[in-house]
Amino acid sequence: MSKVVLENLTKVYSNGFKAVHGINLEIEDGEFLVVIGPSGCAKSTTLRMLAGLESISGGTINIGGRTVNNLPPKDRGIAMVFQNYALYPHMSVRENLGFGLKLAKVSKEDIEKQVNEAAELLELTPLLDRLPRQLSGGQAQRVAVGRAIVKRPQVFLFDEPLSNLDAKLRASMRVRISDLHNTLKKTNRSATSVYVTHDQTEAMTMGDRICVMKDGHIMQVDTPANLYKYPQNLFVAGFIGAPEMNMVDADLSRNDQDDYHLSLNEQGLTLPAEKAQEVANKFTSDVVFGIRPEFIKLADENSPQGEVVKGIVVRMENMGAEFYVHFSVDGEKKEMCARIPSDIVEAQLWNSKGKAQLFHFEMSNAHIFDKQTEENISL
């Protein structure tokens, strides 16, 4: 089967720069794993090492039960889709698709058959005799994907394949690639995929699991939902989600009754019991308090006591169905943001810019991070 296992994978460049710091990762057979991270986090380097385009400084790569460290790219059972499509400019679409098979000395009839099959799958049939320069960006990218499919690889590697396309096309290609992955899976073909991107939407919508990287380290690997709900550290919490999670420095203290209190300057928040339990083991007073904008509401008479904070509304951004309400908490430099439905804003917050307002922080969905280690201590 086509399981991919990276063990302690390391990359050190000849100038001594350590790009990848011993990462461990298991990609299950048929899984669609998205690798995401800011520029320069070595996600592409990792993918290129997997492809065999970049030498490995340490650790092992195992594809489908074979260690492939020293195998050339063609023997690793992989196919790759590049950001710039990397179509051969002097070959027609048909030749581009069949080039790998031609090199593998597959008979002409078989090449023809497989090329036609892939072309049909990707709706490329009318384009088969065109040259790459006669294709639009979306068509070129489909050819690039087709070229990968024709090879029937064990593992598909995608290196930011959609970042050269415009927003609309990107959205439709996203769906197409996801559908394709499912089709391959249904027809019992190998469909393990590693997809590198810096686009959150792609990661969240396409990935079975997402691997978040930073500076050559893996920060967290989990399903999109878990990554969003239970970020293990500050980086993941800040990276996933738009608008970003609110994160402010706070002091954590506990009293004799084992109640945990967060103080944002003068204002206090109380942790609910289930959060308090988790925090108890890793208690520290110097913390970062994080809460997603959708878990901040306008306070009303039902809001529990330890969950209300007074803020001054700084700015309101109309997003149509909802407003992003930016407010500053007394003494804090950093603004916080709440996502509040339009009707509530219109009823209660109209013209409240510059005025004080009480906000209800849903503490059961809050996160507490250790400021030193940046770990989430409330999970």
Binding site: A51, G52, L53, P72, P73, K74, I78, A79, M80, F82, Q83, N84, Y85, A86, L87, Y88, P89, H90, F99, G100, L103, A104, L131, P132, R133, G137, A140, R147, K151, N164
Partner: protein, 302 residues
């Protein structure tokens, strides 16, 4: 021309039409000056060529006595006598002789230079920087420095009075300029396609043949073109190595008519010189289309 609409309140231009008229006139005057300068420079540069061509239709006594480009007495004697030459061979023979060494020279140069440039541009070779500096140094080295040692070497190998010394060195990418030119071109090409081909299963030579050479085509054509023109015009090389008249290329044959006749038949020489530049011009015109063809056209977009 599409009409420009300029908001008068913001531009401060009171009369839009007048503003446009002034702009148009300025552009026309500018273009007039530009074309005049270009035409003048072009004529100055082409005049010697025109003169040579017209002089080849003049009788000998008229060539140096009038400045006019149009011959007073039109005569084809220059071409007829020049073609027959003073020797037992016609000028056609010298043409063919030229091709005998120019064609292998061009082919060998292209093959060897492409392979060496590919190595430099795409592989990690031990001491690569040193080798590259050496390569550049050979470009700076005057060719005449090598003449005597090379002559001695080819004499030892018994290759004098043959075309071998003229093209054999090219099999070893000895013209650093071409290698350098190709390396620079290759460095500018994205490596994505080569990586894709590697994944598709190409080894290094397949990569070179199927992917790199097609992408290098414009550069290869430039190399071939330069080498062709320089070789056809080369005088020193054949002068040193070719001694028998039956092997003379054009460059030497032109000189031949000056040597053997007492009163030099300038019309013959100029007529043959006019013919001698024809291959270079034809080859250039054919290859020009490829020059124009975009370099990374197709493969990359965005």
């Amino acid at each position: 021309m599409t009409k420009l609409f300029i908001d008068k309140s913001t531009t401060g231009v009171i009369d839009n039409d007048r503003f446009l008229r002034v702009q148009m006139r300025k552009q026309k005057i500018g273009a007039g000056i530009r074309y005049f300068v270009l035409l003048f420079c072009g004529l100055v540069m082409l005049y010697p060529l025109f003169w040579m061509f017209s002089a080849s239709f003049k009788p000998n006594h008229e060539i140096f006595s009038s400045l006019s480009l149009w011959p007073n007495e039109f005569s084809l004697d220059g071409f007829i006598n020049g073609w027959n030459t003073g020797t037992e061979y016609t000028f056609g023979r010298f043409f063919i002789n030229t091709l005998y060494y120019v064609v292998p020279k061009v082919i060998l140069t292209v093959i060897s230079s492409v392979i060496v440039a590919y190595g430099f541009a795409r592989f990690d070779i031990p001491f690569k920087k040193f080798w590259f500096v050496t390569l550049v140094a050979t470009i700076l080295l005057p060719t005449s420095v090598l003449l005597i040692p090379q002559y001695l070497m080819f004499r030892e190998m018994g290759m004098l009075d043959s075309y071998m010394p003229l093209y054999l060195p090219m099999a070893f990418a000895t013209q650093g300029f071409f290698v350098f030119m190709l390396i620079q071109f290759l460095r500018g090409l994205p490596t994505d396609m080569e990586e894709a081909a590697m994944i598709d299963g190409c080894n290094s030579f397949q990569l070179l043949w199927y992917i790199v050479v097609p992408m290098l085509k414009p550069a290869i054509i430039s190399v071939a073109l330069f080498q062709f023109m320089w070789s056809v015009n080369d005088f020193l090389g054949p002068l040193i190595y070719i001694s028998s008249v039956e092997k003379y290329p054009i460059a030497l044959a032109l000189k031949l008519s000056i040597d053997v006749t007492e009163g030099t038949q300038w019309n013959e020489i100029l007529a043959m010189a006019s013919i001698a530049i024809v291959p270079s011009i034809v080859v250039f015109l054919i290859a020009q289309n490829y020059f124009v063809e975009g370099i990374t056209s197709g493969g990359v977009k965005g």
